[in-house]
């Protein structure tokens, strides 16, 4: 039953001995492609075929494709493997994958580039170099075969793991020439296929990870088992910024299975026991004194007041400006104004935070579900006090990530515990309650929207004032520009490739009054794009209503072409303009976020304050789709994630504590509330955009615009569960 990740064997030996060892064992080709990160060391003269490592071919023709990005359900593992396999020309049925460790990456001058799996970047940011990794491998395999046959490589090609010399008809499989190919110098010029010629990439192939997931074999972080392992349960101070004062170990020391009661950093206490259940029971019985610190009285009402003040504050960071919005609003025929609010939300990944650590005075190794393995490695080094070269992080599958696992707090804690029990592996697992109350929350904001129509009901000005929290201030202070957090303007930017404001409006002002309550914010699937889409696309609907216009026609007057195309596609698919089923009403929304153009049409009914979402039509132009079925799944899942948040998602503070603790107080959509989701995947081949997040944002405004169509009521504060249908 003990789990030892396959790749783990590699990390215990250095790169050269791995390569030598694997060649001696007949493992054959280990190669890849130099990621353009400025390092020249990858072409070390003494290791010509060992540049880096996307493709391993075994003698039995098995293809092992190395996956740098984390697999948390989004399917990038399969999509990235398709891109490599496409260029490699291998037999897809022979493809397996493995995750290199960040320690291996570091030791090899980051040959795999970065591992971070956030911002819907997994495929779009690495597609070119992973495809080149596959293509270079194919060229080397062909060259090796051609050399053996003493023919020009140009007379050979590779399909389905078979190399053919066309003039003679001779064939050989990859596995037979892999060892020879591994000794060749990688090609410098690596042309890529035209996506129009793809036969593996871009196709709706089955996922590579399903077979293990349906038999309970997939190893998530929580499933790691090491010989002699003990289990730890932990409580951090329930108030953010608070400290641990003391605990009374004697009260629990004799409880079953208890081995250690340990201080963790300056704000937490952990019990280590033979079983996690016993650790948790002892922790619950442990008397603890906290120093709750400055935030002991913090409440949601207080936070709301601070944000409200920001809605009209003089000082604000300008993210997007055109014309003179304030002047145009002052002189307009009609001005519409509304205030919106978006709460703190928890990630609530199904697998609670956990990590397993084994520390000795010389070395520290961690096994964890992480979206940012390299940051986790740095955290291990920092927490253990060891040189980073003496540490590593073994990567497992993730039981959901949603941005939460881009954090490393749980990794640091596991090391802080394990360091106090040297030589013994410790699995630290948070309770669901700890997970909900010690999240890094979706940031809180409010927004004042003001729009101006001229006498002909043309939209001539928009002022969008966002007031609230910046994640970057806490997490990425180095990206601030003179104090401004550019990430706040996700989807509202004047230009770039990441999230461009979709409408042409002559007078525009989008600004941010930064207000940072002492609640830790973090990246959250879709994150700032979610509230920005809600604010903008709800309010555009308000303006369409004020103008007496159809919401689709009104938008199309101002939308830029690519975004308009996706909106039109979903409107057509949803039957916009044709009668909805009796009692059903439609709403729509569109946005450009995470590099992709997305749109949604919702079809809802409202019965005595109960919003029933019958159908969602989601459209995505991600430029390219590594696998259109994976895209469709991400659209379906994004709607569930975003609409769960819209209906129920809310984290509130009272006496400095998060009030929600588990799925009974932090509710989410279950199957009975799942709408039918139809997707339109329409890549135009002109760019590479993300797919894991963009659709989250458009779901909520599409639904709420449909609710307005159904009831005449505008829900401007999330979650919907708090809406007072009588008062509105």
């Amino acid at each position: 039953m003990t789990y030892m990740p396959k790749i783990d064997r590699m990390s215990k030996i250095d790169r050269r001995s791995f390569i030598v060892g694997s060649t001696a064992a007949g493992a054959g080709l280990v190669l890849g492609f130099a990621v353009p990160l400025g390092s020249q060391h990858v072409h070390a003269a003494d290791a010509p075929a060992e540049i880096d490592a996307w493709v391993v071919i075994r003698p039995d023709d098995t293809v092992v494709i190395r996956i740098a990005r984390s697999e948390m359900g989004q399917g990038s593992m399969t999509g990235l493997a398709q891109l490599v396999a496409e260029e490699l020309g291998c037999d897809w049925s022979k493809v397996t994958t493995e995750f290199p460790t960040p320690g291996q990456n570091l030791a090899r001058n980051r040959v795999w580039g970065d591992f971070i799996t956030v911002g819907s970047r997994g495929v779009r940011m690495s597609n070119e170099y992973v495809r080149k990794g596959g293509a270079a491998a194919r060229m080397m395999l062909i060259q090796a075969a051609a050399d053996a046959w003493n023919v020009p490589a140009s007379e050979c090609s590779a399909v389905n793991s078979v190399i053919t010399h066309h003039p003679s008809g001779r064939t050989v499989t990859f596995g037979k020439v892999a060892e020879g190919a591994a000794k060749l110098e990688p090609p410098k010029d690596v042309p890529l296929k035209d996506p129009k010629d793809w036969t593996i990439a871009g196709k709706p192939l089955k996922r590579l990870d399903t077979a293990d997931k349906i038999v309970g074999k997939t190893v998530f972080g929580i499933d790691v088992r090491l010989p002699g392992m003990l289990y730890a349960a932990i409580n951090a101070c329930p108030v953010f910024g608070g400290k641990l004062t003391s605990f009374d170990e004697a009260k629990v020391r004799a409880m079953p299975g208890v081995k250690h009661v340990l201080r963790v950093d300056d704000n937490a206490v952990a019990v280590v026991a033979d079983s996690w259940w016993w650790a948790k029971k002892a922790l619950e019985a442990l008397p603890v004194v906290w120093d709750e610190g400055d935030n002991a009285a913090l409440s949601s009402a207080e936070i709301a007041e601070v944000l409200k003040e920001g809605l009209t504050a003089e000082q604000a960071f300008v993210g997007h400006q055109a014309g003179d919005a304030k002047a145009a609003l002052g002189g307009a025929a009609k001005v519409v104004e509304a205030v919106y609010a978006f709460p703190y939300q928890s990630h609530a990944a199904m697998e609670p935070m956990n990590a397993t650590a084994l520390c000795t005075p010389e070395r520290c190794e961690v096994w964890a579900s992480t979206q940012d393995p390299e940051a986790a490695l740095k955290a291990v080094a920092a927490a253990s006090g060891l040189p980073i070269g003496n540490c590593d992080v073994h990567r497992t599958f993730l039981g959901g990530g949603f941005g939460r696992r881009g954090e490393t707090d749980y990794v640091s804690q596991a090391v802080a515990v394990a360091k106090q029990v040297p030589g013994t592996p410790i699995k630290l697992l948070w309770t669901r309650e700890e997970d909900t109350t010690h999240d890094k929350y979706h940031p809180i904001t409010q927004c004042r929207m003001q729009g101006a129509l001229d006498v002909d009901n043309n939209l001539i000005a928009l002022h969008m004032r966002i007031s609230g929290q910046s994640i970057a201030v806490v997490e990425l202070p180095f990206i601030l520009k003179n104090g401004m957090d550019p990430l706040v303007f996700q989807g509202l930017n004047p230009g770039g490739t990441e999230g461009v404001f979709g409408y042409n409006i002559p007078n525009l002002l989008i600004d941010h009054a930064m207000r940072n309550p002492p609640v830790p914010p973090g990246f959250w699937r879709g994150v700032n794009g979610n509230q920005n889409t809600l604010y903008l696309e709800s309010f555009i609907d308000e303006l369409a209503h004020a103008a007496g216009a159809d919401p689709l026609a009104f938008r199309l007057k101002y939308l830029k072409p690519k975004q308009a195309a996706v909106l039109k596609a979903v409107a057509e698919k949803a039957g916009w303009g044709t009668p909805a089923p009796p009692g059903h009403y439609r709403g729509l929304a569109s946005m450009m976020v995470n590099g992709s153009y997305v749109a949604a049409v919702a079809e809802v009914s409202v019965d005595r304050g109960r919003v029933k979402i019958h159908r969602m039509v989601g459209g995505t132009n991600p430029g390219h789709a590594a696998n259109p079925e994976l895209v469709a799944r991400q659209v379906e899942g994004s709607f569930v994630y975003g609409l769960s948040a819209m209906l129920y998602g809310e984290v509130t503070l009272k006496r400095g504590r998060v009030e929600q603790t588990n799925f009974d107080s932090y509710e989410v959509i279950r199957i009975d509330e799942m709408p039918q989701v139809d997707t339109v995947v329409m890549p135009d081949g002109e760019f590479w955009g993300g797919v894991g997040e963009p659709s989250i944002g458009v779901g909520a405004p599409a639904v709420l615009n449909a609710v307005f169509a159904a009831t005449g009521k505008r829900i401007r504060t999330l979650p919907v569960k708090n809406f007072d249908w009588q008062a509105a």
């Binding site: 039953m1 349906i214 309970g216 199904m350 279950r670």
Partner: protein, 150 residues
């Protein structure tokens, strides 16, 4: 010592009688296919069968089990053949992260025993497991597929 009948075998474990079955399966016996999600019977990730009934194992003290037969996801496939529910899950590629799917499938297997051709409304009532990736649409389709293939 407590004797438990799990997947057709007797396992003798040295644990307190109030230890939930979930943690005996996972930590004591190393059967990690059954997952922890909430610990309060809300999410269903820990669903196993106890005498054929879908049960959230985080709420079942092992001392209460007596001679009852426990089945976990590890024993759904028999003689190397996937259970029809697993086959439908594979055919439709239902899982995303997959963490909730052991419990989800165990709940579905029990539902199909009771109602071989469940309606959508019956699925809505019986399947209350949480999936944060949002696989519900494919879960529903796979339930119908499994029902039709059984």
């Amino acid at each position: 010592m407590i004797a438990l009948s799990i997947n057709g075998k007797i396992h003798t474990v040295d644990v307190e009688a109030d230890t939930p079955l979930l943690w005996v399966l996972r930590d004591t016996l190393g059967m990690t296919g059954t997952k922890y999600g909430c610990g309060i019977a809300q999410c269903g990730a820990c669903t196993v069968h106890i005498d054929g009934v879908a049960t959230r194992s985080c709420q079942v003290p092992v001392g209460s089990l007596g001679k009852k037969n426990i089945t976990t996801v590890e024993a759904l496939a028999q003689n190397g053949k996937l259970h029809p529910v697993q086959q439908a899950w594979l055919d439709l590629d239902v899982p995303q992260c997959g963490y909730c799917q052991s419990g989800m499938m165990m709940a579905v297997v029990a539902l199909l025993k009771e109602k071989p051709k469940p309606t959508d409304a019956e699925i809505d009532v019986a399947i209350t497991n949480i999936c944060r990736c949002g696989t519900y649409q494919r879960v529903r389709a796979a339930i119908h597929a499994a029902a039709n293939n059984a």
